[in-house]
C-alpha cells in the first residue's frame, strides 16, 4: 500500500517503540496488580511485600516526599525490624531491671492498654520492659517494644499514673511516630538503592547498600527517641490521645496531670531524661487539661487497685527528695 511507503523508516521505528513500551507498561501494570503475575521478576524480594524492603518498579520510580507517604509505604514487617534495631540500641545503653513481679505488673497494665488502643495488634506484638535507671524516662520503639525506667516508676504514685505514662508511649506506636523520625534523605537514598537492587537481582553488594541505609534509619530514630524525643507536635498528640485509651480501659485520666506534676517536681536540670525528650511538663499539663475539659471530675481509685500497685512496686511514689 502506498500509505505504508509514505511512513518513513524512522517513524516505523517510533511506532514499534510505542507498541513495545505500551505492552511493557501493561505487563508491569498487571504484575503490580496481580500477585500471580508479579512473580515474573518485577518485584524482587517481595513484590508487594512485607518481606522487607519493598522493591518494585513503582516504589523505585518515585521519591517519598512526606512522612505520611513514608508511613503508607512502610509495611508492618519493616516497621517491626526497624523497631527491633532501635530496641536493641536502647538495651545496649541501659541495664535491665529484672524484678519479675514488677515486670509482670507493668506488662498487665501495658497489654491491657494496648488492647484498647487504635492499634491493638502489631506485627510482632507489644512488649513492656523495665530499665534499671534513675532517669525518669520511657521510650517506645516502632512495632510496640516499650521501655520504662525505674526512675519513672518511682515518679508514679498509683496504677493510673503509671497507666498514663504507658498509654502515652502506646500512642507513639499506634500513630507510627517512629517513621516520622527518619530523615527524608534516607527515603530518597532508599529509593535509588531499590532500583539498583531490582535491576541486579539483589546481589551481595546491593544488600550491603540497603543495610547501610537501614543502619542510618535506625540511627536517626534511635538517637531521637533516646536524646531528643519525638518532638513537640508528636508528644502533644501522644498526651492527648493517651487520655482516650485511659478512658476506654477505665483509668482515671486526671491522674495523667498528677504524674506530670510529679515529674516536674523531680526534674533535675541537665539530667539525661524526660526533660530532654519531652516538652516542659507545664505545657503538657495544659494539653491534658484541655483534652479533659468537659469530662466528669476525678473519682477515687478503688483500694484494690491502690493495693496491688503498692505490692508490685514497693518504693514507687515515695516522697520526692530521696
Amino acid at each position: 500500500m502506498k500509505t505504508q511507503k509514505i511512513i518513513p523508516r524512522v517513524r516505523r521505528g517510533t511506532i514499534r517503540r510505542i507498541i513495545v513500551t505500551l505492552l511493557l507498561a501493561v505487563f508491569v501494570f498487571m504484575s503490580h496488580t496481580q500477585p500471580g503475575l508479579a512473580q515474573f521478576g518485577i518485584g524482587i524480594g517481595g513484590g508487594d511485600d512485607n518481606s522487607g524492603i519493598r522493591i518494585d518498579v513503582f516504589q523505585a520510580a518515585k521519591t517519598v516526599k512526606s512522612a505520611a507517604e513514608a508511613k503508607r509505604d512502610f509495611t508492618s514487617g519493616q516497621e517491626h525490624y526497624l523497631g527491633r534495631a532501635i530496641a536493641a540500641n536502647i538495651l545496649h545503653q541501659y541495664d535491665l531491671y529484672t524484678d519479675p513481679a514488677a515486670n509482670r505488673y507493668v506488662s498487665l497494665i501495658g497489654q491491657t492498654l494496648a488492647a484498647h488502643s487504635n492499634m491493638p495488634q502489631t506485627f510482632g506484638g507489644y512488649s513492656f520492659i523495665i530499665l534499671d535507671s534513675e532517669e525518669i524516662n520511657a521510650f517506645a520503639a516502632p512495632g510496640g517494644i516499650i521501655f520504662i525506667t525505674r526512675g519513672m516508676l518511682n515518679a508514679c504514685e498509683n496504677e493510673d499514673q503509671l497507666a498514663a505514662v504507658l498509654a502515652h508511649e502506646i500512642v507513639h506506636v499506634q500513630s507510627r511516630h517512629g517513621i516520622e523520625l527518619i530523615k527524608e534523605s534516607r527515603w530518597k537514598k532508599f529509593g535509588t538503592n531499590a532500583v539498583f537492587l531490582a535491576a541486579s537481582g539483589m546481589a551481595g553488594g546491593d544488600v550491603a547498600a540497603a543495610v547501610g541505609v537501614f543502619g542510618d534509619m535506625v540511627n536517626d530514630a534511635a538517637n531521637k527517641i533516646m536524646t531528643r524525643g519525638y518532638g513537640k507536635k508528636l508528644e502533644k498528640q501522644a498526651d492527648a490521645d493517651a487520655v482516650t485509651i485511659l478512658i476506654r480501659v477505665g483509668y482515671e485520666p486526671h491522674e495523667a496531670i498528677k504524674v506530670l506534676e510529679n515529674m516536674q517536681d523531680r526534674f533535675v536540670r541537665g539530667r539525661k531524661d524526660f526533660a530532654k525528650t519531652h516538652p516542659k511538663p507545664r505545657d503538657r499539663i495544659k494539653t491534658v487539661k484541655k483534652t479533659l475539659k468537659g469530662m466528669p471530675d476525678a473519682s477515687p481509685i478503688p483500694t484494690t487497685r491502690m493495693d496491688r500497685f503498692g505490692s508490685a512496686l514497693p518504693g514507687a511514689g515515695q516522697a520526692v527528695n530521696q
Binding site: I7, G47, T75, G250
Partner: protein
C-alpha cells in the same frame, strides 16, 4: 497501514486491560448481595485472632496468620467481620491488623506457623529462601557486633510469656482493679 492497525489494536488492548485492572477494591457494604465476592484483604500481623464479637475482650474464634487472604463481610467502627476460605472460618478482627496489600509467601516461607517458634521469623522474600527484612537484620547485626548481646536479650524479652497477657488474665486484671470491662479497642 498495517502498522497503524497494530498500533490502534495495541492502544485499545492497553486501554481495556488498564481499565479492568485499575479498578480498586471497595470497602464492604453489609447490604451487598451474597453472590458478590467479598472485598479481599490480607492479614498484616504475625498471628491474628478472630473474635466472636467486635472487641478485644471477646472470645477467640480462630487464629489467622500473616499474609492470609480474607474477605470483609461487615464493618463496625474499627472492627471488621471477616471470612476466610481455607480454613473456613469467620470472626471479627481489628482493622489495623488488615491491609489491602497482597503478600506472596512462596514455598520456602509459606509455613509461618512453623517458623513462629524460631527466634527469627521467616517471611516473604520470594525465591530467596528468607525474608529480605530478616536478611537485612542479619547483615546489620554482623556489622554492628556490639549490639549482638542486646539483640539476644531482646529476643528473650519479647518471647517471655510473662510479658504477654491472655484474654482471661486481662479480664481478671480489669475486674480485680475495678476497671471497665467488655468493649475494647473501640
Amino acid at each position: 497501514m498495517k502498522r497503524l492497525h497494530v498500533l490502534w489494536i495495541t492502544l485499545a488492548t492497553t486501554g481495556l486491560v488498564v481499565s479492568v485492572y485499575a479498578k480498586k477494591p471497595d470497602e464492604a457494604k453489609p447490604t451487598e448481595p451474597a453472590e458478590v465476592a467479598l472485598p479481599q484483604v490480607s492479614v498484616q500481623v504475625h498471628r491474628a485472632a478472630l473474635r466472636q464479637s467486635p472487641g478485644f475482650l471477646s472470645e477467640v474464634a480462630a487464629t489467622l496468620s500473616y499474609g492470609d487472604r480474607i474477605g470483609i463481610a461487615e464493618k463496625q467502627e474499627d472492627w471488621r467481620r471477616v471470612e476466610a476460605k481455607e480454613p473456613s472460618v469467620s470472626g471479627w478482627m481489628h482493622a489495623s491488623a488488615l491491609t489491602l496489600r497482597t503478600f506472596d509467601l512462596t514455598a520456602g516461607e509459606t509455613d509461618v506457623e512453623k517458623t513462629a517458634s524460631k527466634q527469627e521469623m521467616t517471611l516473604g522474600g520470594r525465591g530467596h529462601g528468607r525474608g529480605f527484612s530478616e536478611q537485612i537484620e542479619t547483615e546489620f547485626r554482623t556489622e554492628n557486633e556490639e549490639l549482638e548481646d542486646a539483640y539476644k536479650l531482646l529476643d528473650q524479652l519479647t518471647q517471655d510469656p510473662r510479658r504477654q497477657v491472655s484474654r482471661t488474665e486481662m479480664l481478671r486484671f480489669m475486674r480485680e482493679g475495678g476497671l471497665a470491662k467488655g468493649g475494647g479497642g473501640s
